[in-house]
Structures are given as C-alpha cells and as structure tokens.
C-alpha cells in the first residue's frame, strides 16, 4: 500500500466552506405504465420529492436512508444521469438542472461518480489504462507528460501498482477494482465526487481500505463528496454533515455530531437504534442505547402517506401528522444547521428509555408470552 504517496496539489485553490452545490426543490417522478394494449401512465413513483441540500467546498456530505428512499436517485440527478422532474441544481451558482449536453460538458469533468458495484462498473474489455484515461480522452485533455504518465500517477495514488496499467479488470479483486473506479473518478481532478454506496459490495476487511483511501483523497485533494450509503457507521466515519432520507424526503439534516448524538426525528432515532453494535466495553450489560423496533416495511413510494411520510410507522403520530406536512426547519433546542421535519420531535438523546418502543405486533406478542 502506498498510503504516504505525496499527492499533487490541486490546480486552483478553492475556499473551503462556501457552497459548491446547492440543490433546491429537487424532484424526480418515474412514471408507472400500465394497461393494454396501449400503455398509459397510471401513476408515479415519487422517488425524490422536493429535497434541498447544500454541499460545501471540500466537505463530505453523507446521505443515509433505507432502500427506496431516493438516495441513489438523488446522486444520479446531481450528476445529471437522470433528468429531474422539477427543482434546481446549482453548481457554483450556476443552475445545471436544465443545461444542455454542450453546456454541461465543462461541468461534467468537475463532478464525477464512484459506483457501488466494482464488477459491473468497469468495462471488462478495456485495460485498466484505457478505463482510467477514458475521461481524459473524452474531454480532450492531455496532461503534462502524456495520459499514460497521469494514469500511472493515479494508480499510485489509489494504492495500485502502476505496472498494472495493461491488465484487465478481471485480474483484480473486488477491493482493487473499486480502487480503479476511484482512480477513474480522480482522472479529471474533480471538485465533487458523488459516491453511491462505494464500499457496500466489499468485504469488511477490504471496506476499511477503501474508506481510508477515500478519506485520504478527500482531505488531501480537497474534493467535496456526496457520500451515499445505508451503513450508518460508515457514513458517520466519513461525513462531516449528514442528511437522513425517508421515502423521497430529507427528514433530518445536520452536523454528524447532531445527527448521531442528538437526533430529533423519530425515524432517525429508530434507524440509529436498529444498527447492530458490538459492545466492546467490559462493563457487562450494554446499557445506554435505546431500543426501538418499528412495525412493517417502508410504504410504497407510488402512493406515499399524506402529511408526514413517516407517520404510518411512527409511535408519536397524531391527526396533525396526516394533514400537514412538517417543514424541514430548525426546531427549538437544535443547533444551527440542524434541521428536522417533525411536528412532535423526540428528546435529543439516544440513551435508553424507561420503556422500549416495540411496535411490531409479532414481537409484542412473543415478548409478552415470554414475560408471563
């Protein structure tokens, strides 16, 4: 591993902290077709429904949520791999949500993507050299010393042997392939990398290698990351700010510390409490964390619940939740930048409660049976 490789300095200095990407009201509806013989649109999957987020220069912004919450769609909308239904995506103050291919070309090189599956995201018929130099070729960039030299540099940055330039993807293991994916994303010296579940397809011992590599890249090259993952512990490790999504909406956003230690939204509480944890302390019982067990699965995004979308699984839901959608605002007791979309927020702590919240009827029945 070449973890100490000196990284080349960025071409131009950017001020850390100012907004790089501002998304507002971003919406994506996928049509659902049905009927015979003429297929008509019978409904819409409301994959992403009016989300606002800001990624600042050089920061890592984490997006967590369960499958189907729209986090991957958000990533694809931002890279313009999907066309948004409405809303705006401002990159360095310029709206790119409706930009044409030609207008987008210069920006595309600054926003790159790392995909989840290192097996399907690399062309098996191209050598590693060709894969990594692909983006330079398309954008007509010839760096000083030629593309091959740059590819070797990139391979070294991501901890691969530069001599492996002429090998094919199948000669590499999963973790090494993901490094190739990272090298390709770095080829054009991007300002923003959208990483969609970059480590979830990897084994535990390999995951850590890739997380460390991404962290090194983020810190030393000052690249901003939109880090999309379902693993809360990995996101916590990687991101300074975190947004939690549920059914196409951002329900809570804030600093890492606020989201993980002082969450207010019931769903964030439930999510954190569901993470299975190794208790390594010697003090016996795993006292400390609250236990919340929701009932059922996430509802269908084709016909999401009215009002607050979490209300059907929420233990605090009242009539107001069904009629009025809670806005994403800073509620009293929250720090600046910590926004929560909830009418009846929870206490800002994750400590164990006097009574567990168990909503699953099967669990309730079994646990009562055992208690008798």
């Amino acid at each position: 591993m070449t973890e100490d490789t000196v990284l080349p300095a960025q071409r131009e200095q950017v001020t850390v902290g100012e907004p790089l990407l501002e998304v507002s009201g971003l919406t994506k509806y996928f049509p659902v077709k049905g009927g015979f013989p003429i297929k008509r649109t019978v409904g819409h999957v409301q994959a992403v429904d009016g989300i606002d987020l800001t990624v600042r220069v050089g920061e890592s912004f984490g997006l967590v949520g369960e499958s189907g919450c729209g986090k991957s769609t958000t990533g694809r909308l931002i890279t313009r791999l999907l066309e948004p239904t409405s809303g705006s995506i401002a990159y360095r103050g310029k709206d790119i949500s409706r930009a044409t291919r030609r207008q987008l070309a210069p920006i595309r090189s600054e926003i790159q993507m790392i995909f989840q599956d290192p097996y399907s995201s690399l062309n098996p018929r191209q050598t590693v050299g060709k894969i990594i130099s692909g983006p330079m070729e398309i954008n007509g960039i010839t760096p000083e010393g030629g593309r091959e030299k740059r590819v070797r540099e990139l391979l070294e940055i991501v901890g691969l042997n530069p001599e492996h330039f002429n090998r094919f993807p199948h000669e590499f293991s999963g973790g090494q392939r993901q490094r190739i994916g990272v090298a390709r994303a770095l080829a054009l010296e991007p300002k923003l990398i959208v990483a969609d579940e970059p480590v979830s397809a990897l084994d535990v011992s390999i995951q850590a290698q890739v997380v460390n590599l991404l962290q090194k890249v983020q810190k030393e090259l000052g690249i901003a990351f939109l880090f999309i993952a379902h693993d809360l512990a990995v996101v916590r490790h990687f991101s300074q700010r975190v947004a939690v999504m549920y059914l196409g909406k951002i329900i809570e956003v804030g600093d890492r510390e606020a989201i993980y230690n002082r969450p207010r939204h019931p769903y964030t509480h439930a999510l954190l409490s569901a993470v299975p944890e190794v208790n390594l302390t010697d003090d016996g019982e795993s006292a400390g964390r609250e236990r919340i067990r929701l009932a059922g699965d996430v509802p269908s995004p084709i016909s999401p619940p009215s009002g607050c979308r979490f209300r059907t699984r929420c233990w605090k839901a009242q009539d107001k939740c069904a009629t009025e959608e809670p806005p994403l605002v800073r509620i009293s007791g929250n720090q600046e930048g910590h926004l929560t979309a909830c009418h009846f927020p929870e206490e800002p702590t994750t400590e164990a409660r006097d009574e567990d919240i168990v909503l699953d009827p099967a669990l309730v029945a079994l646990e009562e049976g055992a208690g008798e």
């Binding site: 379902h230 916590r236 954190l272 190794v278 049976g369 055992a370």
Partner: protein
C-alpha cells in the same frame, strides 16, 4: 515443507447436549481450474437451544459448511469427508431418502435472499404448508391451517388472506418472515440461518433479528447463524466461530471472542470496522491484502500473508509459513503466538485503537 494436515483439535469430546457435532469436515469442489478445498478440517458442536454464530468474509467456507450439513451440494462435483452427526445420526453417508426425511423437518434453513428462495409459482401459504404435509402426514386443510398460524406467529398482518398471496406481493421484510415461518413449520431442532438479514434494511433487520431470538425461546431450536457482520453476531449468538479461508481460526463465547479476541484475523476485523461510538480522528486499520484464492491456499497458517504479527512467533523462522496452527477445543484460537503474547498484544496494541 512440513505442512501439518492433521485435523483441528475437536471441541470438548462430549459437550452437554451437543446434538450437532461436526468433526474434521473437508469439502472439495472440482472446478475447471482444479480442486477447490472450500472447507478444510472443520470441527464444531452445537447444543440445543444455543446459537452458534459463524463469522467470516466471502469465500471463508461458512455457507459451504452449512449447505453440507443439509446435504445440499451436488455430489457430482463435491467431495465431502469427515463426520457430521445430528442427534446420533451420521449425515455424510446418509442416503438421499434419509436426508429428505430430515430437511425441512428436523433441520431447516433460512436463506439470504427470500425472493430467490421462494418459488414465484406457488402461494406463500402453500409453500409453508408443503413441508408440514410431507413430514407430518396431515391433510391439506390441516397443513393450511398450520401455515396460517405460522404466518400469524411471525407477524404477517391478516394472515388468512395473505397466505393466498404470491411472494411478489410481499415486501422484502415480509418475505423473510414467510421464510422463517416455512423453516419453523415442523418445529426443527436445528435451524441454519445463512445471512438472513443481509438483504434487508436496517430497521427491518432489527425486527427480524429480534423475532428470531424470541422464536428461539419458544421453539428451543439450535441455531447456526452465518453472517459477515460482527454487530449482528454480537446481538444474536451465544458462541462464535471465526472462519478464514476454509478454516476456523478462533472460537469461544460471544464475550470471550469480542472482548478478548486472540487471533490476529479477529483483531483485524474488529479494527477495520467503523462503529457508531468509535473515535473519528483515528483512521480505520484495515487488514492489508485480500483474502486468498482457495485454488492455491497459502501454506501453513492461511492468514500468514496478511498477518503483521508473524515475526513475533517464537520458534524457527517461518514457522507460520510451514506449520499450520491447530485450533484447540472450547475457547481457542489457531495461531502460533503464545497465550501470553495474545493477551498482551490485544491489551497493549489492539484495544487502545478500539476505544
């Protein structure tokens, strides 16, 4: 080269109520590239009502072991040696008919992906009723009633109606509940759960894990729980066996293995895993390299190419390369480091990084 190919030391000879015991299990697949020894000399025991967690990375042989217990490998390409005894009955030499008698009845399995493990052709209720009808020789109607009862038990709302649905009409979490109902329908003594929650969302995973724990209280089955997630293991298991490249490298109770791990691979796993309470300023410490190919497994200790502690092993240089460390019975780890070394290295070098 003096590679020791002797089997691992067996766990305590007659563990109380050890109703499943596996001794020196070897599973070899013949492939185009040559024989692959997926499991090489594995021994373990499971008592009724206990949960054994098997943890390891992909390719460590954890799933292969358990498919072998149920005799689910194609005998044309698979060579199995050793001994698997379930409640006094030898399974490796058992005929297909005897295995059929066992599967779904005394031993059942929950698979990782419920969508591919359920048949899209039959209703959920029928799939749950089928093993019950076959093994208990009851009428179709009685079996259906039992299926509805099981669906209710695993928390499917409106079970009488939902039993008539097909798997695609169920959500992911509900499908896994249906799988659990199917596995438990004949009240098995042994339940093998192969990554049962890996395909599920975290809030649903928490429900399913709790459900399995509560059902075990009620049914008293012994569970083998296979996963790559140490957090899930900590939550579910009584005992842990850590596997690496076809070998068990460490075993013990949950507390022993997670609080005072002895094997460098287990240290590596714990160190490379981010936790919700880990220190954010220290980078993760990954295990260098990647898991070996089982076509050409490393000689001696299979972990030695990735191990950073082998120079501390006493005795002849290159002992880790030449000699395979054996796994003792009960609480043990397969490593040439001495017990004192393991303890001091963990306390002085590994534990501070976990804080």
């Amino acid at each position: 080269m003096t590679t020791v190919t002797k089997p691992e030391g067996a766990p305590a000879a007659n563990a109380p109520d050890g109703f499943l015991s596996v001794r020196d299990l070897q599973v070899t697949f013949s492939t185009e590239d040559g024989p692959v020894k997926a499991v090489d000399g594995l021994s373990f025991d499971l008592a009724r009502g206990r949960t054994l967690g098997i943890v390891g990375e992909s390719g460590s042989g954890k799933s292969v072991t358990n498919l072998t217990v149920l005799g689910l490998h194609n005998p044309l390409f698979t060579k199995t040696d050793g001994e698997i005894v379930l409640d006094g009955k030898e399974l490796i030499t058992a005929t297909e008919k005897e295995m059929e008698e066992l599967r779904g009845n005394r031993a059942a399995m929950i698979f990782q992906d419920p969508l591919t493990a359920l048949s899209p052709f039959y209703t959920v209720g029928r799939q749950i009723a089928e093993p019950y009808m076959k093994h208990r020789k009851v009428s179709k109607k009685a079996a259906w009633e039992r299926a509805v009862e099981m669906l209710a038990k695993v928390g499917i709302p409106n079970p009488r109606e939902r039993a008539k649905d097909y798997p695609h009409q169920f959500s992911g979490g509900m499908r896994q509940r249906a799988m659990i109902a199917m596995a438990l329908v004949c009240d098995p003594d042994l339940l093998i759960a192969d990554e049962p929650t890996t395909a599920l969302d975290v809030t649903v995973q928490a429900q399913i894990l709790d459900l399995l724990k509560d059902l075990q209280q009620e049914f008293g089955s012994g569970i083998i729980f296979i996963t790559h997630d140490l957090g899930v293991i900590a939550d579910m298991a009584d005992d842990i066996m850590v596997m690496y490249a076809g070998n068990a490298v460490e075993r013990g109770t949950v507390d022993e293995v997670l609080r005072a791990p002895q094997h460098p691979y287990t240290w590596g796993l714990l160190n490379s895993m981010p936790r919700l309470d880990s220190d954010l300023d220290t980078p993760l410490s990954p295990i260098p390299g990647s898991p070996p190919s089982l076509l050409h497994p490393p000689s001696g200790c299979r972990f030695h190419p990735r191990c950073t502690f082998q120079d501390r092993v006493a005795g002849a240089a290159g002992r880790c390369v030449d000699e395979r460390p054996l796994l003792g019975p009960d609480r043990a780890s397969a490593c040439h480091l001495t017990a004192d070394q393991k303890r001091t290295i963990f306390i002085e070098e590994i534990k501070p990084r976990l804080a």
